[in-house]
Subunit: 386 residues, 2 copies
Amino acid sequence: MTIGSFAFERGGELDLDVAYAEYGDPEDPTVLVCHALTGSQYVAGPAPEGVSGQAAGWWDALVGPGKPIDTRAYHVVCANVPGSCYGTTGPASEGPDGEPYGADFPPVTVSDWTRSQARLLDELGVETLYAVVGGSVGGMNALDWAKRYPERVERVAAIATSPRLDAQCLGLNTAADAPSRATRTSRAATTTAVPEPDEGLAVARRIGHVMYLSKASMSDRFDRRVAERQPAERADPSAEGFPYRDVASYLDYNAERFTERFDANSYLSLLRALDEYDLAQDAPSDAAALAGYEGDALVVSFTGDWHFPPEGGEEIADALEGGAGAVAHRVIESEYGHDAFLVEPDRVGPPVRTLLERGASAVTTETERDVTPDYPRVCTGLLPDA
Amino acid sequence: MTIGSFAFERGGELDLDVAYAEYGDPEDPTVLVCHALTGSQYVAGPAPEGVSGQAAGWWDALVGPGKPIDTRAYHVVCANVPGSCYGTTGPASEGPDGEPYGADFPPVTVSDWTRSQARLLDELGVETLYAVVGGSVGGMNALDWAKRYPERVERVAAIATSPRLDAQCLGLNTAADAPSRATRTSRAATTTAVPEPDEGLAVARRIGHVMYLSKASMSDRFDRRVAERQPAERADPSAEGFPYRDVASYLDYNAERFTERFDANSYLSLLRALDEYDLAQDAPSDAAALAGYEGDALVVSFTGDWHFPPEGGEEIADALEGGAGAVAHRVIESEYGHDAFLVEPDRVGPPVRTLLERGASAVTTETERDVTPDYPRVCTGLLPDA
């Protein structure tokens, strides 16, 4: 859907198309789901051809009839973020001159995502969100809703996320985007002597996968096992002396698949937005940033997530505590690492369901938080019959 | 020094030059020091021009007159490993046809390093080593001495090392070497359309630095601070909207410096040797691999080292326990991460000094190990006057 002229936070303005998916009855209370870095609007069910991997039905176990985000009770909306490549205007989109924007696409921030979603919801006639739910950088997006439009949000669920990336994550992203930085396709740049942007994208994806898994889960899953299939031809002749291992096979395979579904310039744009996100931006503290938010909040984090560890979840919960709503921080013991928010739906679903049905005060927490809302909250959503 | 024709473990044979440095009096008992991945033979003191960073005097605080590895008491030898680029024959060396070997250099393993050192010591007339000391992959090299030539080694110190890389490290190395793999210069390959190998090397080094630091130390050192100097020109035009941060500046700077001192093909060769190293190779277990070793052993590991965590050090110590000598595992609490073995010489030095002067049974351990040597050991080295 075209939302008209859109001014980006860091400069630049263009007519923005926002691609979105919706589920359930538009008359029901609306739950906005925010996707992760390389996700798409296709949060549940089948996705169109070409949309695969973690972009296709990535929370199918969470969103649907009778599921934790029950589409018989809620109108679920998920929008592809500006800068991405699943239909919303981004670097791979055609610019006014008929060429892709490429590196000339305006710099994108999480706040641009939030503001584009708000404009979309305006167009859809949705004023108040029953809930905003997101994981990873989608959790940052959800928190940005509570910060930027507190009056429009009744519940927020921030899953496997952080108030901001730490130096280690920034450092790994610096390594990940280096090949793409050096070779980014720009309409302005000469196109000779630059390597394939996909190669840089593949490097970034390999690093990403290691960040998303935990040390323990990688050992469990791959150990040092030799891959069943050795590559027919090794790019590096001297590699012939050494076995090709499962972990290399996994990373190489997934990196290659990723380049088929994702645009290198989009990835760089979104990675910058992730790096740049800071809950406390334009505010003296995280708590001050969220001071205006009066709804309930659920924070979910995973013990094996070294990318966004539970400490960050606790900082978010602390920041939310000053508000009027109830806050629950559910720490889930999982060795899956950051990927747990996608691969452990059976553990993510229940607290999300409870938040939606009964509010954050009804969510039991391992690290129990004594946060009592100072006004009684009424559940306005329809209860599923589960 | 030319050690003559050398047959590599995984195939290939060539006349091998081994570059080495020696310190102290050759009549004294010999301590062999094994360098880390990108180190050199210049373990202490000044290094020749072009040898910089972690290759130049990298353990200057540990090796010298009166220092823990006291050159007034011991003859210290350090040799550059085959495959490296500091004088020992490697991919950057000129082959018989006058061109650099490049990717055609034989695959290199840690055992090749050990065997080349043994040949060098033969040439130098050194039969028995008073001690072998090494950190990181140099620690693997030291352990390989105890495994391969147990009768030639009286004491071994394996610092910040592991019996083998785990899947996470292998995965990060897979990401790190991907650009180089794809673009490796080979005399056989066409040289068109391949990007600069240095670019791949720089990516690998950025990842390496993140692996060598700990999450906590990166936060302490960089947090999210914006770099004082913003780059005059950003390779990526859209990066203009975002601050260049200290952590990116540090990684970019060090990656660039690294490409000035190291050869991309050498890095790939050494990384493969590291990936491939397995203490239990050709043996039913780590303990079986070390069953023939009767000397003392010191294992040092660092709590903040997520690359080679103390658990791996404990595995090594356990494997050594079956031998006749004393074994001590000193766990050092340090937030410096893997780099601690280089940047905390005040903490590495004392247990090394004790090992050399009084044996492993005299090393106090935080995680005290009740290993009593079953024969009394006599300190054959000269005692420093410290």
